[in-house]
Amino acid sequence: MSIKVKGLSKRFGSHVAVRSLDIEIADGEFFVLLGPSGCGKSTTLRMIAGLDVPSAGQVSIHGRDVTYAEPRHRDIAMVFQDYGLYPNMTVYQNIEFPLKVRKVPKPERRGKILDTAERLGIGDLLQRKPGKISGGQRQRVSLARALVRSPHVFLMDEPLSNLDAALRATMRTEIRQLVANLGITTVYVTHDQVEAMSMADRIGIMHRGDMIQVGAPLQVYDNPRTKFVAQFIGSPPMNLIPATLSRDGRVTSSLQPFADLLPEAQRTGAIDLAARGVPFFLGVRPEHLTVCASGSANCVEAEVEIVEPLGQTTNIHLRVGDTHFVLVTGRSTVTAGSMVGVVANPEHLRVVEGEPRPAA
């Protein structure tokens, strides 16, 4: 196990930023901490880095307890959102700094710097100061500075959020490739679900200091544990329809034909949640709904509110009584105001927990 976090908590006065967190990250894994701003993901990363001291709990890196160790004794490298480059040094000196501090002999330093700079495509910027290069180039320099030392663990705190959209997409792929080639264990913090989905081996979703769910991107996408995850991941988000459990063990909701189709495992989950008194929802991703002829079996009659053609896909906003939901399809001839039939793919129907609770 490369990184092991146990019962990690951080309080700022009476405010709890991170609550009793447990994470295990395997060697060479790309782990993404995802969540909205203020969810505690950056604080968690900073505690792993040693920049913040935990209020409780333990951090181990490579089997060594480093909870209270200084950052320099953790064999980690980090990339910051605002790059954290030394403005008074040239690009070359910036990349050289971690080697210099660790007293690597000069000829060896030079080789490593040129090598890393070459790999990141900044070989021709080495004599410039960080103030004189573009945002994307600065990010490359800060990646080079982090990588030049071949650290055991690589931490990234929203490294792409200061870049424009096009550059962000390119850098995303580049970082993923780079890290995969080097096989370095990486913890990556972001609030962007696209980044998380596209880069991660596993995602940990945080909300208000709690770890809500941990899993592979598609696993989290397909089986969101709570309402928060269901709505945070996916665009448009998962449709959530309030549901209850009737006395005879049936799940009831305003879209009853869908509730009736729930797979058995999901229904068992609903019974479990109801027994604990936790509210729950019937959840279905917009792309798992299909327009069909009215009157088909298990079909819901819905009124079309708005149609949003996006080219590749079309978002159709629907209403049944007071229940609003969205369907995503390819090209469609459906028009606003008309009535359509909608069926759900039964194997993608989910029961989603209402109030967020910390992961067990």
Partner: protein, 291 residues
């Protein structure tokens, strides 16, 4: 102007623009020269007076052409032993400035970067040293100095000047250090530095403009300080400002002598400012560090 260039094409407009720019530059130079003359004239007058005889100084209208004399400097360095005072001044001011800079900058770093109980209170207490009028503390200091046996020694003045400069260093350097983005220091810590290394290798080089400005200012505070120096020294630790006061003689002020003293006193400050000039412009306008 746009109408003109549109009607007559590019060539005449470029010529016109050139003349206009040249005229603007000339105007700026004239203003700059006038301003420089305004501020430099007293200095020039002092420098000239220092090599004039008493009769030439009081001549009216002022004499621009005269036979220079070294009499004032001879009196200053001969009879008044200005060289001893110069050494005293240099010793006292250099050590006290250095002490204030080192202690003050480190305190400023702590106040800028660490959170501890009563931080703002500490900062205010440091500042309060400067709130007391100097003259109020002279008598107590005199009594303390006598009982400690440090009266008329450079050490007493060093302590006082260092303490006097400290609040200024702490408060100004605190702002400069706060301006250095935290992530730069954190990056350095990840890169392998301990706190002290971060401070000396990363933060200090980034606040050099601030250090230079503060250094020049507190150097000048101490270098020109008269009150404490005159009350707390008698013969051994006499500094230049005290010595220069000898130009005020029982019957009249010896302008030649006082001008000579002023020249001797100004030279080190001018040299210091010239050597730190590169940083001063940035330092005095604050907030120079941006990634």
């Amino acid at each position: 102007m746009t109408v003109y260039s549109a009607a007559h094409g590019a060539a005449p407009s470029r010529a016109a623009r050139f003349t206009r720019r040249a005229a603007g530059a000339a105007g700026a130079y004239v203003l700059a020269i006038l301003a420089t003359a305004f501020f430099a004239l007293p200095l020039v007058w002092i420098a000239l007076s220092s090599v004039k005889s008493e009769a030439d100084i009081s001549a009216y209208p002022p004499m621009w052409i005269f036979t220079p004399t070294a009499a004032n400097f001879e009196e200053l360095f001969g009879k008044l032993k200005a060289f001893d005072a110069l050494l005293n001044s240099a010793f006292v001011v250099c050590i006290s400035t250095l002490l204030a800079m080192i202690m003050g900058t480190m305190a400023a770093y702590a106040l800028a970067r660490f959170s501890f109980r009563g931080k703002e209170n500490v900062a205010l207490q440091v500042l309060s040293i400067r709130m007391m009028p100097a003259i109020v503390s002279v008598i107590p200091l005199f009594i303390i100095a006598r009982s400690l046996g440090v009266f008329d020694t450079p050490w007493l003045l060093i302590a006082i000047y260092a303490l006097n400069g400290l609040p200024f260093v702490v408060w100004v350097m605190r702002v400069f250090i706060q301006d250095v983005p935290k992530s730069i220091e954190e990056a350095a810590m990840i890169d392998g530095c301990g706190r002290y290394e971060v401070f000396f290798r990363i933060t200090l080089p980034l606040v050099v403009p601030g250090l230079a400005a503060v250094l020049v200012i507190i150097f000048m505070f101490s270098w020109n300080e008269y009150l404490f120096a005159s009350m707390l020294t008698s013969s051994h630790a006499k500094t230049l400002p005290v010595l220069a006061a000898n130009a005020i003689k029982p019957k009249a002020i010896s302008w030649g002598l006082s001008s000579a003293a002023a020249v001797v006193m100004s030279l080190p400050v001018i040299l210091l400012v010239l050597s730190a000039q590169r940083y001063l412009v940035r330092g005095l306008t604050l907030g120079a560090v941006k990634g």
